[in-house]
């Protein structure tokens, strides 16, 4: 196949595949990129070891604790602002 050079030549060939029909879609995409394949094949649940579960619960506790801290900070800011007025 003769290769055109320059931006014009490249652009002309990149526009769309020349093949008729849609088999080219299957050729171009990886099999698990197809929407139907992704809907059909799912990754199953992974086993969570004790260490992983402790880490995840620890992180959840961290978020809840920090949410309370942020709420407290907002409350103090609001009350200080109200006292200033």
């Amino acid at each position: 196949m003769e290769i055109e050079t320059g931006i014009g030549g490249v652009s002309a060939q990149l526009a769309a595949p020349a093949e008729s029909g849609e088999t080219w879609v299957l050729d171009v995409l990886e099999p698990d990129q197809l929407v139907a394949a992704k809907e059909k094949e799912r990754y199953g649940l992974r086993e969570l070891g004790l260490g992983t579960r402790i880490l995840m619960w620890g992180m959840r506790a961290y978020v809840l604790f920090m949410t309370v801290v942020v709420a407290y900070q907002i409350w103090t800011t609001v009350t200080h602002a109200a006292a200033g007025n």
């Binding site: 990754y43 649940l45 992974r46 995840m56 978020v63 920090m66 949410t67 801290v69 942020v70 900070q73």
Partner: protein, 449 residues
């Protein structure tokens, strides 16, 4: 385009993605510098968008507050460090997206189950919505500098978000958003207009100092806000989903890394420029602790002129607008992935209307809140970056586990070094959050300023 016979099982989304893959595949077979450049151009997008998207209105406001309160200081190299952390984290999402062709939310649901996944979704939803509100605050303030009424500014921004969402093609959405994101670099000329002391900038970068006033509750708040301005959960969800939607695959990994590194580089430069641009407020001892976006532009006007102040205000507007698009996209992807509804920018509106509804209605609702008279917007701005920091460690744990899950990523698992660095980032963010908590609950531990 002539009608082609339809193959059962192949969707419109597949066809559009295949056209993009065909383009990349063809460029990969060619040699020469021009073709290599065109290949890179075809692949870049998600990385640059996620990094410039994170240079959003509250982030630029944090950087402006940093420069105005601390001048040329330790925060300059610190911001470089935070973007280095952002690169390490985002590179992991590139690998996940390329290896699985699925979004982050979908993988969390599949591998960890609904119980853990809904926690992650709750963090994301709350964080995204509050951040989206702050983007519209930035949009309103940025255009307000030019006398544009809030309702007009917000409506126009929502219209741009809708146009981007409903472009019907991932590629069109990406190129449109990229063309807007370039304007994040508008802060660079503003930095030059203040005629900074480059020697002091170089000294601060090399010595990690000074820190005017020492460690105080204020400097700690700025520190946490600057971390939250660089690494946030929506970025993980966004980039992985965008990589999958774009159809990038393992052979594109190197270009995907370059894309992310370029994004981090551009975003770092824009962030540093914003800090430097507001140094005159520090030098002239102008109290900017409670400034909002437009007030920074107004306060800078005596030092950089009307043109410079206009660039600053436009930069804040642009930061809010691009982030409004990327964060709305992130929310829509996550919704589609967990609900099982169609979730691709390559889908027509009729096939994926719930996805597009979340995309546009989320932005419209956030915009409407900004227009409510007396809404407590300043408190939302105050906490949004802090919320981003505290929600990040759990999100990183999911990311770490997924990137080391050979069943999911195959050969693209994280290296030992990458794991070590990711672990260090998690510890750093957690400790920063806890330090912030301790000083909030016990403010007498640190001097106020």
């Amino acid at each position: 385009m002539s009608a082609q016979p339809r193959t059962p099982g192949i969707t419109t989304e597949d066809r559009k993605r295949a056209v993009d893959r065909h383009r990349i595949g063809l460029l990969r077979t060619r040699s020469g510098r021009l073709n290599r450049f065109l290949l890179l151009l075809a692949i870049v997008g998600p990385g640059i968008l996620v990094m410039l998207g994170e240079n959003d209105a509250p982030s630029m406001l944090s950087y402006a507050a940093t420069g105005s309160q601390f001048g040329v200081s330790l925060f300059l190299p610190f911001v470089v460090l935070t973007f280095a952390m952002a690169y390490i984290v985002q590179e992991m999402t590139v690998r996940l997206g390329m290896a699985t062709h699925r979004g982050h939310a979908e993988l969390i649901f599949d591998r960890f189950g609904r119980f853990w996944a809904w926690f992650a979704m709750a963090d994301l939803t709350v964080g995204n919505f509050l951040t989206l509100v702050t983007e519209f605050i930035g949009i309103r303030a940025g255009l307000g500098f030019f006398g544009i009424p809030p309702a007009v500014a917000v409506s126009a921004a929502v219209a741009v978000v809708a146009v981007a969402a409903l472009s019907g093609r991932y590629r069109t959405w990406e190129r449109l958003t990229l063309s807007l994101a370039v304007f994040n670099l508008m802060f660079i000329p503003v930095a030059f207009l203040v005629h900074p002391n480059w020697g002091a900038v170089g000294h601060a970068m090399l010595t990690w100092g000074p820190l005017p006033g020492g460690l105080s509750s204020n400097s700690l708040l700025i520190l946490v806000a600057d971390i939250g301005a660089t690494v946030t959960p929506w970025m993980l969800f966004f980039q992985q989903s965008a990589v999958a939607d774009k159809g990038l695959t393992s052979p594109d990994l190197q270009s995907g890394r370059i894309d992310t590194a370029l994004g981090a580089l551009f975003a770092t430069i824009a962030a540093l420029a914003t800090i430097i641009a507001t140094v005159p407020l520090f030098t002239h001892k102008i109290s900017a602790a409670n400034f909002q976006a437009a007030q920074f532009a107004q306060a800078l006007q005596p030092y950089i002129g009307r043109f410079g102040a206009s660039l600053f205000a436009l930069g804040i507007f642009e930061a809010g607008l691009v982030a409004a698009i990327t964060i709305s996209t992130s929310s829509a992807y996550a919704y589609g992935e967990v609900s099982g509804a169609a979730h691709s920018l390559n889908r027509p509106l009729g096939e994926a209307w719930p996805f597009y509804s979340v995309f546009v209605l989320g932005a419209a609702t956030a915009g409407a809140i900004v227009l409510i008279p007396g809404a407590p917007l300043e408190y939302i701005v105050l906490v949004v970056n802090v919320i981003a920091v505290l929600a990040m460690p759990p999100a990183l744990v999911f990311l770490y586990l997924l990137c080391n899950d050979r069943e999911v990523v195959g050969d693209l698992t994280s290296s030992r070094l990458a794991n070590l660095i990711t672990g260090a980032v998690v510890v750093f963010l957690t400790v920063a959050g806890l330090f912030f908590a301790v000083t909030t609950l016990f403010p007498s531990l640190l001097p106020p300023a």
